[in-house]
Amino acid sequence: MTGDVPETVTAALADQQVAGQVCLEAGAGVGNTTAGLLTAGAKRVYAVTNDADHAATVRDRVGDGNADRLAVVTADLRATPLATDSVDLVTAHGLCNVLPPADLNAVAAELARVARPDSHLVVDDYAVPPASAAVTRLFALENAAARVVDGRPALTFYPAGVLAAMFADHGWAIERRKTLLDPVPWTEAHIEAHSDVVREYADELPDVVGEPLATMADNLVSAIGSERAGTMYSLAFRLADR
């Protein structure tokens, strides 16, 4: 039992060879894709994240009964401890939008290094949400707070074509594109989770800045409630040549 696997993950993996494959789940998050890969019969899953809490969550959620198939690795995706040419399938589900643009290239290069020739890559992410969407205001606030605190944005949404071209540059030939969600349901739980991020940044700042930021987040939560906006896409690649 691996817990519920979201439809987005199931749909993204549906046309991929997973059973018997060595997989790298790049940016393991809460373990949705890790669960999907294990359910689909992966031989081994390296679930990599640079966040120790996420690593613990993934172990809690899917570790039971999968000790021989799952390795949760706490590492930076720009330089992982995995061997060159060792992976059959790489997944990056909702990863790119949390990568600072400056890191994207290095991560793509590293994924191409660990992947064996002819291996596959699945990249799932959000299209740029419409400017008119209310969630766009929340994401903008989140990015403003992140820039002030960390000097980098929290979220960057890439058009599918941009990611396709960027990975192509590292030898990944695009094989298909499909729409996973249209519209994307930003539920109250998602909105709440994003505003929590704003509040965490706000806590790091002097009260004069932090308090108004937190208030803006609260106001946005009540104004938005939940919203359906934008799309989520899936790109599948094959590693051609480097």
Partner: protein
């Protein structure tokens, strides 16, 4: 309205089936008008049960007037021969007709019931006898229960021709075996068994009665329904996209017109949108920690 083959029964059912329980809440004149409205929208499959108050009686007049145009499903909760035989005759009487097109074992919940139904002297004996006597045409089953139980029933009842079970984005998003109606759909598909979807319009359970007394509920349904034209259209399109043969309309007459409009104008639903609805529902009661992403 679109029609689909109801399994291998030979019946081409409209993608919307009229849940005639809605008639129970109306006076006879209103019931007659609702049936006319349903027929005006082209619906050719009706479903009723003796347990739905006066629904059989109120359906009777218009059913008899349009008997040739309506494929009628009825049901029994009896599990043994005697009871089932009586209920068939009683329903024929109350409806005022000679033949019920589809007679369904209603609300199967436990394996033990299946034992009783299929044993000597069980309800199936009576249903088969009625079939031989021309009182019914096809045999079906309904269940809100475990999908595996439905599959067991398919295994054990050779002449089963249709099954009716819940399907909506909430159910579709749950992974456990106890929600795997997908497996039932696949099985039915491969065996030519017709499929009817219920609870397509269910939003959730009613609040507990100490918060909202039963008498204060705004709808007659035993669950809280979605009740805006957009939500109804969306739920209908979703259910119809799940490879069900037909979707049963909700039990409250106030919702029927909206559902008829949704079914008449339906243009299908692509997979990305189906997934969006499932994900939206899934997040309302997800055990997984707070998530920023999908």
């Amino acid at each position: 309205m679109e029609t689909r083959a109801l399994g291998d029964t030979g019946q081409e059912s409209t993608v919307l089936t009229f849940g005639s329980i809605a008639l129970n809440w109306l006076e006879q004149e209103g019931a007659n008008q609702l049936v006319e409205l349903v027929l005006d929208h082209g619906v050719n499959h009706f479903d009723v049960a003796p347990t739905y108050g006066d629904a059989e009686l109120k359906l009777g007049p218009k059913l008899r007037q349009y008997r040739e145009e309506v494929f009628l499903g009825c049901k029994t909760q009896e599990r043994e021969y005697e009871g089932a035989a009586q209920k068939i005759d009683r329903s024929l009487n109350r409806l005022g007709i000679d033949t019920i097109d589809l007679y369904q074992i209603h609300g199967l919940e436990y394996e033990a019931e299946l034992d009783t139904i299929t044993a000597d002297g069980g309800a199936l004996d009576a249903i088969r006898e009625a079939k031989a006597a021309g009182k019914i045409d096809h045999i079906g089953l309904t269940s809100h229960g475990n999908p595996q139980l439905i599959i067991d029933a398919i295994d054990r009842i050779d002449d089963l021709e249709t099954v009716m079970f819940p399907l909506n984005p909430v159910v579709a998003g749950k992974d456990g075996d106890e929600y795997d109606y997908e497996a039932v759909l696949e099985r039915c598909e491969s065996e030519g068994i017709g499929t009817l979807g219920i609870k397509a319009f269910a939003k959730g359970s009613w609040p507990p009665t100490d918060e909202l007394a039963e008498a204060d509920r705004p709808y007659a349904n035993w669950y809280e329904p979605v009740d805006t034209p957009e939500a109804i259209r969306e739920r209908f399109d979703f259910a119809a996209a799940q490879s069900l043969d037909t979707v049963v309309s909700p039990g409250d007459p106030k919702l029927v017109k909206m559902v008829l409009d949704a079914a008449s104008r339906s243009e299908g639903m692509d997979e990305a949108r189906q997934r969006a609805l499932i994900e939206e529902a899934r997040h309302d009661d997800s055990p997984v920690p707070e998530q920023l992403h999908h």
